[in-house]
Symmetry: C2
Subunit: 109 residues, 2 copies
DNA sequence: AACTTATTCAACCAAAAGGTAGAATAAGGT
DNA sequence: ACCTTATTCTACCTTTTGGTTGAATAAGTT
């Protein structure tokens, strides 16, 4: 999967209220599917699928501990995503600084 | 619209390949619907709707210049979104620092 | 081996998303 | 007034998404 595609997938993964709350919970620490499902008024299976979406996007990873499959939030994906936003914000703002400079010059002349 | 909802909407808005490319283009400067539509192999109407989604999420804003409705990327929404990611990354990592500290203590004893 | 716990798979359904094309609206130019 | 340009609205269609339930799998306990 290319970096660009993964980024789109990451945004899409975070663009669902249930998944966004799952991520917020996981920022506090790893959790099992059961624990996460307890937070929502939907079935365990539905939550399991949400986690699958997050995993496919690289937002979370999973391991095995006895019967459980603890879900772990991946900092790297958060960083990559924030970096993309930051890069575009900077490009946008530097453009405006240039524009401001031009306007300033015009004012002076 | 609450901040939380807007954030979900923003992620969802960026979670589409066409819209993500629109944002990348807009980081270079404002553009009209026509100009943006020229970048994609889909109809003008489809692009117009993508822009509407971005606008509803607060990612872009629009003005009027003659018949055109130039689309402008909103830095504030990029910042809010990046901030959310950053905050959760930090919470996640500070947790691991604490864990590392605990492991370090155990090693010493 | 049988039972319990944790999670996933599969089939199904309704709603939402993303595309199309044609008609309508808005603003400028002749 | 009329014509052109830019954009949006509407109706429609297909695919994807998010939910459900019941059955299956995986691992641990008795």
């Amino acid at each position: 999967m290319t970096a660009q595609l993964e980024l789109v997938e990451t945004f899409a993964a975070l663009g669902d209220p249930v998944r966004q709350l799952i991520v917020e919970r996981l920022a506090e620490g790893d959790a099992t599917v059961n624990e996460l499902a307890a937070l929502f008024p939907i079935s365990l299976q539905a939550v399991s699928r949400h986690i699958k979406v997050l995993e496919a996007a690289g937002v979370v990873s999973r391991s095995r501990v006895a019967q459980s499959r603890p879900v772990h939030l991946e900092a790297a994906s958060l960083i990559r995503t924030a970096d993309w936003l930051e890069a575009h914000r900077l490009r946008l703002e530097s453009r405006y600084e240039r524009l401001d400079a031009v306007l300033e010059e015009l004012k002076e002349s």
